[in-house]
Amino acid sequence: MTRRTPNARLQVLAGLAALSLAAACGGGSGSGDGGDKGDGASANVPGITATTVTIGAHYPLTGPAAPGYSEIGPAAEAMYKYINENGGVNGRSIEFKYKDDGYNPANTVDVVKQLVLQDKVFAIVGGLGTPTHSKVTNYLNNQRVPDLFVASGARLWDQPDKHPYTTGWQPDYLIEGKILGKYVKDNFAGKKVGYLYQNDDFGKDGVEGLDSQLDAASVVDKQPYETSQLSQPTGIAPQLSALKAKGAEVVVTFTIPAATAVALLTNAKIGYKPQMVVTNVGSDPTTLTGLLGKFSKGAVGAQLLDGIISDSYLPLTSDAADPWISLFKKVHDKYIPNLPFDGNVEYGMAQAITFAQVLNGAGKNPTRQSLMESLEKGGFKGPGVTPLRFSKDSHAGFTGVRITKLDGKGGARFLQEAQVTTDEPSGAIENAPSDAQGKPGDDPFTK
């Protein structure tokens, strides 16, 4: 019995020593990494040196949620590089550090703490995901770290009282649901409507928006699906069979792109041809065309997209004549030519432009406080086709969307004027002001 002890003790001590060593070594190398402590005027502001502004973000770069979303970080980084080449913002170049959280909220907390504590970022810009980012908003606000443009359409980010440093960017899913719902009501009157939605906040907020516009009597079925179904061979066929059995003639979906594609393929399989109305989140034509099969020799493919109704708050990537799109394409071809030029890339780039504008407004020597003041001053005009709503009382982003129609060749076009609405189910839907959009070159860094 007693023979066990000398070694056991040594082993535990050795374990502790190893722990200390690992931490100490790591600590040494880590503090070397985060050595952005410049001197000069803003020496006391984390992430700001005389020549640089360091910001950070988290995205799923690996794992099941990575496809698509993993393009946003590189795209934003490409735009920052372009901005830096044009002289940066107020003479400072923007350094963008983005990290992989694998869409695991525990990892999100880890990488965000790493960005804040070790890399000493000035702000978090564009952190992605509702389940993930909602776990760091308290921390970032307690630390007074600006937490701009959360890449999610949940309604959680617009709480200036509780989270003064957090803001949204894209229109929330309720707004989108309302505008889509109104379009369906106005244009498909008398048809039986069915919903297909993701069984989480994204889908449920969208459904709430739809329900606020559509007559309950016209909605024949609401089918939720789980993302886990998408990784099984049966997919979401059960949901679409049900919608078909209920006789829905218009199917409105709050689906991610993979789910939209699976739904379209399933419809073709079971011979179901409803009018599809698809959320902006799941309707990027480039992504869908890729998913629907370039090999299938005409059996199915991009023509499944023909006639789909959707919406957008940014210019359409297929519209090569649009000045923003040609800027984005130029940046894409120069810095990230290996990525597809799709909605995710556009998203990252457009967000980067808004951030540069906010930073620009924060003055020659920006502080975290002046950045938030600049944001709350509002009035930013960029690629968006509807206004951004930033003010003292609102940290929501885009106020509306514009209805689009997809063609069968991987493109889309706008159908009617852009519309705006509030994020209350009862708020009215109105046409957006015609001067909501800016032009490239309005700011020195987008020339």
Partner: protein, 291 residues
């Protein structure tokens, strides 16, 4: 009725894919008493290789055998080089090695091919035939069922009726005895893994048109394939097929009539129920007493 039929059929064709995964796990278990957690990732990887062939203009009928052949080689490689050294060690070491291979292959696939979803073609149309007004089954689904059935039948024939099959069974049943009888046991075990990986790769290439191709595309299929193998009994290839089909139909019914959120819970419930009645699966013959 229309709906019930189509739900049943898509459950059966999905179940065939679980069956193929389960079959590969059973073959590996029988050969080396290892649960190969890398099986899904291996299948994902060989599907990417087939995808590369297609991208370079190769036909599906070139890519298809390439997926199976590279599966064969990959299976043999993993057994011979990575699992063999730990095969006689603690059983969990082999499990951790296969977990390592699983993570490694996902990283490698992401590194080589990028993380985005890729469309993967089906060799036949996936439009259902209509029987009167009733939408029934698609040519691709028939292909899934037939190709898995064919591979299973070939494997069965190989094991039951050929000399090499007998050697493999002997090597798996008792390595020592087989060795004394002149069987090259190591080689037989490698062959067992290789053949098993072929079944896995078949599942990979058959499921890719439905779940798309990306580094994690086999995760969910693997879990249910493993579940099917456990339900059927890890020693029984027949059990793998029956388990796969049963699970496929069950999951399809649950998603249709109870809700998608109950799919995984129902799989758990069925598994637990079956194991409480038959602790070694439905078709087990031997009682295992190992850790």
């Amino acid at each position: 009725m229309d709906r019930f039929l189509s739900v049943t059929i898509s459950g059966l064709s999905g179940g065939m894919i679980y069956a193929a995964v389960a079959l590969s796990l059973v073959l590996i278990w029988r050969a080396t008493r290892v649960v190969n957690f890398a099986q899904g990732a291996m299948a994902m990887f060989t599907t990417y290789l087939a995808f590369t062939v297609l991208e370079h203009g190769g036909s599906y009928w070139v890519a298809f055998p390439i997926a199976l052949l590279t599966g064969l080689v990959l299976g043999a490689f993993v057994e011979r080089v990575l699992v063999r050294p730990v095969e006689n060690g603690p059983p969990l070491n082999a499990v951790v090695v296969t977990l390592g291979v699983f993570i490694f292959l996902q990283g490698l696939a992401g590194l080589l091919f990028g993380g985005r979803f890729r469309s993967f073609p089906a060799p036949f149309s996936n439009k259902n035939y209509n029987l009167g007004n009733v939408s029934t089954v698609s040519p691709f689904e028939i292909f899934i069922v037939l190709s898995v059935a064919l591979v299973a039948a070939l494997l069965f024939a190989l094991f039951q009726y050929t000399d090499v099959g007998l050697r493999m069974r002997a090597a798996a049943f008792s390595g020592e005895v087989a060795r004394m009888l002149g069987v090259r046991v190591g080689r037989m075990l490698t062959l067992g893994w290789a053949l098993a990986a072929v079944a896995g790769s078949l599942a990979g290439i058959l499921v890719a048109p439905s779940v798309f191709l990306h580094p994690n595309n086999m995760d969910g299929v693997f879990v249910f394939g493993f579940t099917a193998a456990v339900i059927g009994g890890l020693d029984s290839p027949v059990g793998a097929i029956v388990g796969g089909l049963g699970l496929g139909v069950l999951l399809s019914y649950v998603a249709s009539y109870a809700g998608g959120d109950l799919q995984t819970l129902s799989a758990l419930a069925v598994l637990v129920f079956i194991l409480m009645v038959k602790p070694n699966g439905l078709f087990s013959t031997t009682a295992t007493r190992r850790v």
